[in-house]
């Protein structure tokens, strides 16, 4: 990242590749692209952490709090089973929110970068 950043550009072969690299770096520097990356990570990073934590809470609770997880809620249906079912709901809901966000926010931003890329060439 530090010194390495400028070096490879100089070392790259003089012909097509150098201009090519500059072209891509240029696109990377555009506000639209930066905004897209920021918007995407602002959703994906917390969502990924959330689903990992929620998912591993199940095997961990099964092992660490066995009597609590075996508590029966309705008839012989216990907390462990209901927790497992809730994982399905969690996955579907998160997927729904991701797709909504992608359609509303990421796609228009990506389209802007694509247009700019088309003009640049």
């Amino acid at each position: 990242m530090e010194i390495g950043k400028s070096q490879p550009v100089q070392k790259a072969p003089p012909t097509g590749e150098a201009t090519d690299a500059a072209h891509w770096e240029g696109l990377e520097e555009t506000t639209e692209f930066k905004e897209l990356v920021r918007a995407r990570w602002r959703f994906v990073a917390p969502a990924t952490i959330f689903f990992l934590v929620y998912y591993f809470a199940l095997p961990l609770s099964n092992g660490l709090f066995p009597s609590f997880m075996r508590t029966e809620v309705i008839g012989h249906i216990n907390i462990a089973y209901l927790f497992a079912l809730s994982e399905f709901v969690m996955a579907w809901v998160l997927a729904y929110f991701y797709i909504r966000q992608a359609t509303r926010v990421f796609d228009p931003l990506a389209e802007k970068v694509r247009q700019r890329a088309g003009q640049g060439k």
Binding site: M1, E17, F33, L60, N62, A80, A91, V113
Partner: protein, 568 residues
């Protein structure tokens, strides 16, 4: 038995006809590998579901639940949640940067010769171990349909291949499947996967409804019955966690071993999917990133619904038949024929037999058994085709065409030569998986096997390479090769010295866990990082960082993505 076998052959025959029809529509390379990139999102969603739900899901999970209760259901949970990893991090960037195989994406930034060779190695390892489980599943079906086949064929199988005697049923059905796939069924798997996904969902819905009908749609009565099934060793009811891996029995590194096994399994389940070459290939069949995204959504809906139904399928088999009576041949009263060992992989067909007989009489039982066995067989065949495509793609496209011929001999390769190499690869991988299946044993659970080997290799070798290629600027060829080769080797080694899945279990294995993911996956990521820094010190690969800017923009936006060809 003749009705069962006849109907089984009819349903399988229909599937084969569709395959042949689809195969004739395939002309060019892009059609061969990526179905012309014209597959719609929902179609691809069905195809992903078809590719993903193998014998492991259809036969394996039901078996794990039928034999171990609640713990088996953890496989269902993990294999759905896994798709969030795919959706958030993998599907769209893959479509935006890839062409035919996983290695296409890696070699964007990396030096193509070492990376393609390493990716071919890990892809073949994943495919062969995945296929090994499919072979065991197919063998289990044949053992039910033709219970005397093993005995009748045994004189011809009285020899050993590298010290292992082949299992007659597995060897026969495995060889037939490979011949079919290699002879032409290998192409155009998308449509086969779609047909098969529909069949599989249909079969699961039918059996689930019949299980519920047995309990008059009284959910609580169903759970009462499951609760009444108790595990002999622990005394726990089947609704309770802790039967597959009993808690409080042993410790590993000072922690309860059962807890470590479950977390380790979970890691492989949710991280492995994102590194499965035959699933990643599916994202190259759609027109753009948006379609890749919607196909994951469709797949999640279908796969999730199926996995919820494993409650009825698995617990249903436990409650209605009981694990002691799940084997290749049953006598009156659904008791295991004397001298036969129970086999977890036979839970679904046995459940079908029981429910059919219960509701529609003996013929109904034969009918339903034939139908479910045929669906399972179609499932396995379709997955074997997908895996063969991935493995032969990795070898012929990545290694042979791009490494051996283009870089080492600087020649051009005719399509005929490429297809020939693909077929030879497929035959060898098929043979390897039949041998591995015999070595592992026909009664090992196929879901546990897939999760225990193929998913761990995918998560420890492929996933770090893909993620870092897409998102880490400093990542380079050394890091990629280190994780692809290192992750694969470490996983195979840990599994080989571990307790394994063959009963009786090894008494004091060199590695204590069945699920090796908790060690292998971090090692894979670590190798990728260490390899990268070593490569930097060696000043080996400056282009990787320059190229990062390109892959960064392409992955996020789809600039310059492989286009959708105009339909002919």
């Amino acid at each position: 038995m003749s009705i069962t076998l006849t109907l089984f052959l009819i349903v399988v025959g229909i599937t084969l006809v569709i395959t042949a029809w689809a195969a004739r529509r395939t002309r060019t390379t892009v059609q061969f590998w990526a179905a012309g990139r014209t597959i719609k999102g929902w179609q691809n969603g069905l195809a992903i579901a078809g590719d993903y739900m193998s014998a492991a899901s259809f036969l394996g999970i039901a078996g794990l639940i039928a034999f171990n209760g609640y713990d088996g259901f953890m496989y269902s949970v993990g294999w759905l949640v896994a798709y969030l990893t795919v959706l958030f991090l993998i599907a769209e960037p893959m479509r935006n940067t890839g062409k035919y195989t996983m290695a296409d994406v890696l070699s964007y930034r990396m030096s193509p010769v070492p990376v393609r060779s390493a990716a071919a190695f890990s892809t073949i390892a994943v495919s062969a171990s995945y296929m090994m489980a499919q072979m065991i599943g197919a063998g289990s079906l044949i053992k039910i349909l033709l219970p005397d086949l093993d005995k009748n064929l045994s004189p011809y199988f009285n020899w050993a291949l590298f010290g292992t005697k082949l299992d007659p049923s597995i060897a026969l059905v495995g060889a037939l499947m490979m011949i079919y796939v290699i002879a032409g069924g290998m192409v155009a798997t998308t449509w086969v996967q779609i047909v098969k996904a529909v069949l599989l969902m249909g079969g699961a819905i039918l059996l689930s409804l019949l299980v519920l009908l047995y309990f008059n749609f009284n959910f609580l009565a169903f759970f009462d019955k499951i609760y009444s099934v108790k595990d002999k060793a622990t005394g726990l009811p089947f609704t309770s966690p802790g039967i597959l891996y009993p808690y409080g029995k042993a410790t590993v590194w000072g922690i309860d071993k059962a807890l470590v096994e479950n977390v380790s399994l979970g890691l492989a389940l949710i991280l492995g999917t994102a590194g499965l070459p035959h699933i990643l290939m599916r994202f190259f069949t759609v027109p753009n990133a948006k379609a890749a995204r919607s196909s994951v959504a469709w797949a999640m809906g279908l796969i999730g619904s199926f996995y919820v139904m494993t409650t009825f399928l698995g617990f249903g088999a436990a409650a209605l038949i009981g694990k002691a009576n799940i084997c290749a041949k049953v006598v009156t009263g659904f008791k295991c024929a004397p001298g036969l060992k129970p086999n977890t992989n036979m839970s679904m067909p046995r459940l079908a037999d029981f429910l059919g007989t219960n509701f529609f009489g003996a013929t109904g039982g034969e009918f339903l058994l034939a139908f479910i066995a045929a669906v399972a067989f179609a499932t396995i065949l379709a997955v074997v085709a997908g895996l063969t495509l991935a493995a032969s793609g990795a070898f012929s496209h990545d290694f042979y065409v791009n490494v051996v011929r283009t870089h080492l001999f600087h020649g051009t390769v005719s399509e005929r030569e490429q297809v020939l190499v693909a077929r030879i690869t497929a035959a060898l991988v098929g043979l390897l998986s039949i041998w591995l299946a015999a070595k592992t044993g026909a009664t090992a659970n196929v879901a546990a096997l897939v999760a225990g080997v193929a998913f761990v290799i995918a998560a420890s070798a492929n996933l770090p390479a893909i993620l870092f290629t897409l998102f880490w600027k400093r990542f380079n060829t050394w890091g990629a090769v280190a994780s692809l080769v290192g992750g694969t080797v470490v996983t195979i080694w840990l599994v080989a010295v571990g307790p394994g899945w063959t009963l009786p279990a090894v008494a004091h294995p060199a590695f204590p866990l069945q699920n090796v993911g908790i060690v292998a996956i971090p090692v894979g990521f670590l190798l990728a990082i260490v390899g990268t820094y070593v490569g930097e010190l060696a000043k080996a690969d400056r282009l990787a960082e320059v190229k990062f800017h390109e892959i960064d923009v392409r992955a996020q936006t789809g600039v310059g993505a492989e286009p959708t060809p105009v339909p002919a």
